[in-house]
């Protein structure tokens, strides 16, 4: 019964940047195949939380298990986890000196160490999945923002991860490009991928999320399925936040 198995377990995690507490006593369990959308005002610790999941940030205390592996200082564990966890950034972070195809093959070639032919075949498959097979030989700077973000998603998928993290994937995009990225994310969600998304795209959240998480001041203050979350949130700050962003 893989559907109900927890794949990410966050237990009482605290995170300090110097004196500033970015996360305080955060606990969250994500089951395999589940989609979790995290929202909240800026500075509430959403990004920090998902960056802890693949240890781009080190949590100060508490425990974090990904796919049964505990994240500690152990380098081997960190790399094992990162191979199973794809990450998509707000600023795309494509490798500008590599072509689109090379951006997609560099991970499988240098980390998974598969053959070049396999890596290229895999890259083409995922470029197809994000609907830009014709851009394979261009450089990132020649693509639009929406295309770049889709390449970034394909780059992560090429590692064939079990979990995908999205850190505000549409926040740096022009409005007309947001949908092409969201469409790809919806397709990915429908394929059964485990996903954690930090986003303010509430239409997308309502459509794909199994759990909605609202964070404020480094704490999770509300966890609920979207049907409950959007209609009768318990936490007043959450209600206020939703009123603000759903107003327009």
């Amino acid at each position: 019964m893989p559907e109900t198995q927890p794949i990410i377990e966050i237990r009482n995690v605290d995170k300090f940047f110097g004196d500033f507490q970015a996360l305080s006593d955060v606990s969250l369990t994500v089951n395999s195949g589940e989609k979790v959308v995290i929202c909240g005002p800026s500075g509430s610790g959403k990004s920090t939380l998902i960056r802890c999941v693949n240890r781009l940030e080190e949590h100060t205390s508490g425990q974090l298990f990904v796919d049964g592996i505990e994240l500690t200082g152990e380098t081997r564990n960190i790399r094992a986890v990162r191979m199973e966890v794809g990450m998509v950034f707000q600023q795309f972070n494509l490798f500008p000196h590599l072509t689109v195809l090379e951006n997609l093959t560099v991970g499988p070639l240098r980390v998974r160490k598969i053959s070049k032919a396999d890596a290229i075949a895999r890259a083409r498959k995922y470029l197809e999945r994000v609907h830009i097979p014709e851009q394979a030989d261009k450089y990132p700077a020649q693509l639009s923002g929406g295309q770049q973000q889709r390449v970034a998603i394909a780059r992560s998928l090429c590692m064939e991860p079990r979990i995908m993290l999205f850190d505000e994937p549409t926040s740096a995009l022009d409005p007309e490009m947001i949908n092409e990225v969201l469409d790809v994310m919806i397709e990915l969600a429908e394929s059964g991928m485990t996903m954690i998304c930090v986003t303010h795209e509430m239409g997308f959240a309502n459509r794909v999320a199994d759990q909605m998480v609202f964070m404020d001041g480094g704490k999770i203050v509300e966890i609920a399925p979207p049907s409950v979350f959007f209609t009768k949130p318990k936490n007043p700050r959450c209600r206020e936040f939703l009123d603000q962003i759903l107003e327009h």
Binding site: H97, G107, R110, V111
Partner: protein, 299 residues
């Protein structure tokens, strides 16, 4: 007179005329002083003879002192640059390493080189490192063996007279160690100019530190610092004159030799200066030509 010339003349001012006149007078005075007071006889005819001479035995023109020195200088500079870049990349990475000890060691090396006069550094490297290394590896007798053997054409092509090999090699090592510190700083600046997102993207793919550096960070960093690296190469050629002090028979050393046998002080040094200038200036022109912005899709 073409259009450009006329425009240039129009832009000249009486001030410019005055400046040129003063300079001409000054150098004319120096010239006369050298001729009259020092009773210096210019013998420019010597210089070509000391660049090339006709070898009666082999019946062909061969390099004489100055050109021999020039060739040695060029050889040493090429090898030293390659070595300096390799060491510099390692040093640059060490400067940004996570490990404090590694970072401190790299910093110490750099600060020593920055705060000790180059000549002193060169002597220290020579006596403490390169001489010991050559003795320990028995390079001297090995090189003499090759010099004596028949089929040493390849070796001679790359290193010149093999009997001089130990001194050439120590010249290369000393110069490379000296320049590597500056190359290291350039590389560090390049690495630090790469946005944090690149490191994070590489890491989140599961890349090791090595893979991250090798495939993501260094290719971008080195491309960024190519112009200062090219300039450092020119500096290296100029700095190479210092190794004449450890008896490496390069251009400056040979010029000293030439001066002591012929006493053609001015001619020899002017000729040598001209050779350094031609090499360094043409390289700097070449580099700025290569750096000019080009129209191309790939960045």
């Amino acid at each position: 007179m073409n259009h450009g010339m006329r425009r240039l003349l129009k832009r000249l001012h009486w001030m410019d005329g005055l400046i040129v006149a003063v300079l001409v007078l000054f150098f004319g005075y120096v010239w006369v002083q050298i001729g009259d007071q020092l009773n210096y006889k210019w013998r420019w005819g010597l210089i070509p003879d000391y660049m090339f001479r006709y070898d009666e035995e082999r019946e062909r023109w061969v390099a004489n002192l100055l050109v021999q020195g020039l060739i040695t200088t060029i050889r040493i500079c090429i090898y030293a640059s390659i070595l300096a870049v390799l060491l510099g990349i390692i040093l640059g990475m060490a400067r940004v390493a996570k490990n404090l000890t590694i970072r401190m060691l790299a910093r110490t090396y750099l600060e020593f080189l920055r705060n000790i006069p180059p000549v002193v550094v060169i002597f220290i490297f020579f006596f403490f490192l390169s001489e010991q290394l050559i003795a320990a590896l028995n390079i001297e007798s090995w090189a003499r063996g090759i010099a004596r053997s028949e089929n040493n054409g390849v070796w001679e092509f790359f290193f010149g007279d093999m009997r001089r090999f130990p001194s050439v090699i120590s010249g290369v090592i000393v110069l490379a160690l000296f320049e590597s510190a500056f190359v290291g700083e350039i590389v560090r600046a390049g690495i630090e100019a790469i946005p944090r997102g690149q490191h994070e993207a590489a890491r989140s793919l599961g890349m090791s530190w090595y893979a991250e550096m090798r495939y993501i960070i260094l290719p971008q960093a080195l491309k960024k610092v190519l112009p200062p690296l090219a300039n450092q190469f020119i500096s290296l050629i100029k700095d190479s004159a210092i190794i004449s002090l450890i008896s490496v028979q390069e251009l400056t050393y040979k010029t000293v030799e030439l001066v002591s046998t012929t006493r053609a002080i001015f001619e020899a040094w002017i000729a040598t200066a001209a050779m350094y200038f031609v090499i360094c200036f043409s390289l700097s022109m070449l580099f700025s030509y290569l750096e000019r912005p080009r129209k191309s899709g790939a960045r």
